[in-house]
């Protein structure tokens, strides 16, 4: 199945300038599996989204078809064919 990953401007340098990446995943793949694929294809991007224990970074949000993954099953959230995963850094800090 095909998934679209939407990348914020501040991270596009790690994706050759792309604002969207289209990834092919097996059916019923999870967000974790998407990020595992990303670790192979775009490691500089993936390590900004997860630490080396594969834990999602605290101030990075992953909206799966409009719902932040932590309101679903977190990294175990199942993705559907055609899903859009939008990376949104938290608005925080001073």
């Amino acid at each position: 199945m095909r998934i679209t990953l939407v990348i914020p401007r501040m991270l596009r340098s790690t994706a050759d300038g792309a604002g969207r990446l289209r990834l092919s995943l097996e059916e019923r793949a999870t967000l974790r599996q998407l990020l595992d694929e990303l670790a192979i294809s775009h490691p500089a991007l993936e390590r900004r989204l997860r630490d080396e224990t594969r834990t999602l970074r605290r101030y990075v949000n992953f909206y799966v078809d409009g719902t932040e993954c932590r309101a679903l099953d977190g990294a175990a959230t199942t993705l559907s064919d055609g899903a859009e995963v939008m990376i949104v850094p938290s608005v925080a800090g001073g």
Partner: protein, 363 residues
């Protein structure tokens, strides 16, 4: 072309560079670079063509380590994480606290100290690092605990004579030493007080060392600013003796030694753990020229009153000129420099974010 001094200024919101040409002109300050990252560790590696290194931490996107081979005009990092804990540790890097080039005899070796407390070693000039297992697997590790800044290896002192000998300092945990290249580590805290311990105030380990400094021409002499207490060792950290007498307070974070004179040492006292301000609100670097037997406050050119800021553990440094320039930066964003061994000070920069780390070198 005359040489110039490059000063790296790591702050809570990025990196600034200050440069002074050898013609005696003023400082040219540029920045921010690496914006909105906390720059706790910087290094200037001058063992061959100058390389700048910076440990950065983005609140959003985590820590990393970047290098520059063009004096800060551009920065590089590998796609993969340059420093990462191996999977079997179940641990993630929180912050790079220290970056230290190895001895001259190992020109490609770079050490990094991290939070959580660990030592990493690079053998390719700082692109790839490996965890030093001997320290990570130390049986004491379960008993190290975090200070207010976190549990971190924040000081690394490779022995310039013998690459297999390395000292590290951590909060808390204290001083540890290896003599076999990192396989075995032993605590080296004899004489260092841990006043916060309810019973034994001189434990084998568990001290909260804030910073150590060593002059490479006299490597057995090491100075140490502790969480209360200032010490000197003359035997390579086998034993420590107090050199706090003569200081207005024995609390503080940084300590630096003159690379051209192992008897000349600098510190920035704060009143106490529970009162972390310069004594009487006066900005004073304290200097000893006799290895800590006596101290004098150096304040010409510094704010004499109303200075309620502080100097972080890596925000005091010396360069490799002769005489060595002395630098410090404050949590209130000022950076001062002295080119006459602390006798007088000039303002390099002000109104910066909190200064976390400074390193300077002739380039």
């Amino acid at each position: 072309m005359s040489s110039s001094v490059l000063l790296m200024i790591g702050t809570r919101k990025g990196l600034w560079l200050a440069r002074r040409n050898g013609d005696g002109g003023g400082w040219q300050v540029t920045g921010p670079q690496l914006p909105m990252t906390e720059v706790y560790a910087v290094a200037v590696d001058t063992r061959s063509a100058p390389r700048l290194l910076a440990g950065t931490e983005s609140p959003h996107f985590g820590p990393t380590l970047v290098t520059s081979d063009d004096l800060g005009h551009s920065w590089q990092e590998p796609d993969h994480a340059p420093i990462a804990f191996p999977a079997d540790t179940g641990t993630a890097l929180r912050r790079v606290w220290q970056i230290v080039p190895g001895p001259v005899s190992e020109p490609e070796v770079i050490y990094a100290g991290t939070q959580p407390s660990a030592l990493f070693r690079s053998e390719d000039g700082g692109s790839n690092y490996e965890l030093v297992r001997g320290l990570w697997d130390h049986p004491h590790r379960a008993e190290w605990f975090p200070g207010a800044g976190g549990q971190a290896v924040h000081t690394i002192l490779p022995d310039p004579r013998e690459p297999s000998r390395v000292l590290v300092g951590m909060s808390t945990g204290g001083v540890y030493r290896t003599v076999d290249g990192g396989s075995e580590w032993n605590p080296a805290n004899s004489g260092i007080r841990a006043y916060f311990m309810p019973e034994d105030e001189y434990p084998e380990f568990g001290q909260c060392v804030h910073k150590m400094a060593r002059n490479t021409s006299a490597p057995d002499r090491i100075y140490l600013q502790n969480h209360h207490g200032v010490y000197r060792s003359d035997d390579g950290a086998d034993t420590w003796e107090s050199i706090a007498e003569g200081l207005p307070a024995d609390f503080g974070f940084p300590i630096g030694v003159d690379p051209t004179d192992p008897d000349t040492v600098y510190t920035f006292p704060l009143v106490a753990d529970a009162h972390r301000f310069p004594p009487e609100g006066s900005c004073r670097i304290y200097r000893s020229r006799d290895a800590g037997r006596s101290w004098e406050g150096m304040g010409e050119g510094l704010p004499g009153e109303g200075f309620w800021s502080a100097v972080m553990r890596d925000a005091l440094c010396l360069d490799d000129a002769d005489p060595a320039g002395v630098y410090f930066g404050s949590r209130s964003g000022e950076v001062y420099a002295s080119s006459d061994r602390g006798e007088s000070w000039t303002l390099v920069a002000e109104h910066l974010p909190d200064v976390l780390s400074l390193r300077a070198a002739v380039v």
